[in-house]
């Protein structure tokens, strides 16, 4: 993983936790897809249907997104317009990069505070969804809240690290860890393994070709 967490045991733990959650969410998406197909076939052919797969799907998205936010932040994927940043001198760039992290962390803290209010009200008033499932809202909302809490934790941790680096005057380190991704990094993170696979296939095809020519 191409993480920009500062190297220490806590980061290692955070990295593993986020990665584990991503994998679990992924398998859940696959499972939900299979359930959806079973439900579709059942509904069309045998007129039976699970109640509320769409409701669960909605909660799934909320939780998927909340977990994904942390992973994307760690791997520096959240979108920024880097047109101007790229053209500035090192010091100005590091100031903007620190500012970007601080504002993002500020927004996350604000969001988590308001998300907490939503969750605590659901608990206090024992809200249920107005659907056949009558889901107690605190169940999906706690998972969602924990996802946002993790995101906020990562945001604050990284913003703090960026600020410390900046106060030390280590602008190069700030830009390396918190600047928009360079082209190579972006290609690597969006297509890295796929490219390796393609290159391997090409090598194999070449070998086959050579073997064929050798035989001829």
């Amino acid at each position: 993983m191409h993480s920009n967490l500062p190297p220490n045991p806590f980061s290692g733990l955070l990295n593993r936790l986020v990665d584990l959650l991503v994998i679990i969410t992924g398998w859940w998406l696959v499972a939900l897809s299979i359930l959806t197909c079973v439900e579709m076939v059942g509904r069309k052919l045998f007129s039976f249907s699970f109640q509320g797969i769409d409701e669960v799907g909605g909660y799934t998205l909320a939780i998927t997104a909340a977990i994904g936010f942390s992973y994307t932040l760690i791997t520096r994927g959240h979108t920024r317009i880097d047109f101007l940043v790229g053209k500035l001198p090192e010091k100005a760039r590091s100031a903007i990069n620190v500012l970007a992290m601080l504002t993002l962390a500020g927004m996350a803290v604000f969001a988590i505070w308001r998300a907490w209010v939503v969750l605590s009200e659901s608990i206090e008033f024992q809200s249920h969804s107005t659907t056949p499932l009558q889901t107690p809202m605190w169940i999906p909302q706690s998972l969602w809240f924990m996802g946002w809490a993790l995101f906020t934790l990562v945001c604050v941790y990284l913003a703090g690290h960026a600020l410390v680096l900046w106060l030390r005057g280590d602008h190069a380190a700030v830009n390396k860890a918190y600047g928009p991704q360079t082209l190579e990094e972006e290609i690597e993170s969006e297509a890295g393994e796929v490219l390796e696979q393609v290159k391997m296939e090409q090598r194999l095809a070449q070998q086959r070709q050579q073997a064929k020519e050798g035989a001829a």
Binding site: I23, F110, V117
Partner: protein
């Protein structure tokens, strides 16, 4: 209700913050909170929590991670190289030879993959070695890959349509139906453009391939099957009303698994890589989208919709005039912006304007996605161009820029066609959904 000046200032603040390089989501949320604090007071600010939950808990939007996952599985199934070879079997006879294969395979790949960076990088890696020995004009080779890679969002299932649909309450199924014909016309126009260039200057196209025996060609045809089957199943279910957009995305995921298995590339490690890529791309879109939902909410309370509608009705412009003005606006914005920020950042403001002018929301979805496609290949910022140059690793970026010019112009022609013949977008959704 606040006036047009305040709206303009608010939009400007957001743009400036974006240009400064803050996270796009931060700038939107900040602008929204600023508006809420100044004009609405704390209740609107405190509504952030409920808005976040409402924005994220959405079954239709679950289709975003599912389509991305489906693409990530297919991309890792290891069919790209073979798909390229098979397409070239059938497109090679055209003047311009392999250049058409670039368009076709990029279009296929990008229709499946949610990332234009991944498309450009992968197709370049597959295609560029093939061109090494064949004396094609380098610029056209690069331009055709960039052009093909830009087609992804217009050809369903793309993420841009889902995002636009969610923001404007437009049916994603209708949008997908509306994108098909313009997507096909765009592909044909690109190929026509290559054809015209290579007929006019045959020297730009390289040496022709020896025609492979028909049996070999037919044998390889199965490699085109994977993307076509998935596309057929997913879109077929939507168009026939068999499944909702989210259900057919789930179906796509289930269909993609045996395909990856058939190519011998289904493994736990591969799935885990696909999950990571999926959550990354999903979260990138959703963080921005979540902020945009709250911005939309605040703008609704501020009566910005009414202000803008009144403004447009007062101007007395025809829909066609308005669309051309917007086209110019998006062309300029597209020089600096990537697809998603451009789409999400402008829709809350532009959508009330176009509805007031009597423009169909489904049609406008196709229009704005086309504008996003143009932004992908318009220099000097177009990300795909740099990716292609990065994979190429020789020559200059200027050659890539030059190569995209004919395709850029073709896209302008497409814009004109779309504006003046909106039926090409609206006919199919009408047929499917009434």
């Amino acid at each position: 209700m606040i006036g047009a000046t305040e709206i303009g200032i608010g939009f400007l603040i957001m743009l400036v913050l974006m240009f400064l390089g803050l996270h796009v989501a931060t700038t939107m949320l900040l602008t929204a909170i600023l508006g809420a604090v100044l004009y609405l007071g704390m209740p609107a600010v405190n509504a952030v929590g409920n808005q976040l939950w409402a924005a994220n808990e959405d079954y239709v939007l679950l289709s975003i991670p599912l389509y991305i996952l489906l693409g990530e599985i297919l991309v890792r199934a290891g069919t790209t190289d073979k798909m390229y070879k098979s397409l070239s079997d059938w497109l090679n006879f055209l003047p311009g030879g392999l250049l058409h294969t670039n368009i076709g395979s990029s279009a296929l790949f990008s229709a499946v993959s949610g990332s234009s960076v991944a498309t450009a990088a992968t197709i370049s890696t597959v295609a560029l070695p093939t061109f090494k020995t064949r004396r094609y004009d380098q610029r056209l080779v690069l331009g055709s890959i960039a052009a093909g890679a830009s087609l992804g969002n217009l050809i369903p299932p793309g993420i841009a349509f889902l995002v636009y649909g969610a923001m404007t309450n437009t049916s994603a199924g209708r949008l997908y139906a509306a994108g098909v014909i313009p997507g096909a016309i765009m592909t044909l126009l690109f190929m026509g453009c290559i054809l015209a260039i290579c007929l006019y200057k045959p020297g730009l196209a390289g040496a022709k391939e020896a025609e492979p025996p028909l049996r070999e060609k037919l044998g390889r045809l199965k490699h085109l099957l994977a993307p076509l089957v998935v596309f057929g199943v997913v879109m077929g279910c939507i168009y026939t009303g068999w499944a909702t957009v989210t259900e057919s995305a789930a179906l796509g995921v289930v269909v993609a698994l045996p395909i990856a298995w058939a190519y011998g590339n289904l493994s736990v490690a591969m799935m885990h890589d696909a999950f990571r890529a999926t959550l990354r791309l999903t979260a990138m879109s959703l963080l921005i989208l979540t902020a945009a939902f709250y911005l939309n909410f605040v703008m609704g309370l501020l009566g910005i919709t009414q202000t803008l509608s009144a403004l447009v009705q007062g101007l007395d412009v025809s829909p066609v005039q308005l669309l051309w003005v917007l086209a110019v606006f998006y062309l300029l914005l597209g020089i600096f912006f990537e697809t998603l920020p451009m789409l999400v950042g402008t829709v809350p403001l532009v959508f009330p304007v176009i509805t007031a002018a009597g423009i169909d929301p489904v049609f406008f979805g196709v229009f704005i996605v086309l504008m996003c496609e143009i932004s992908l290949i318009s220099p000097p910022v177009g990300m795909t161009l740099y990716v292609i140059q990065g994979v190429r690793g020789e020559g200059t970026i200027a050659e890539v820029f030059q190569g995209t010019v004919p395709f850029f112009l073709t896209m302008i022609v497409m814009t004109a066609i779309l504006i003046h013949f909106p039926q090409i977008a609206l006919w199919l959704p009408k047929l499917s959904f009434g």
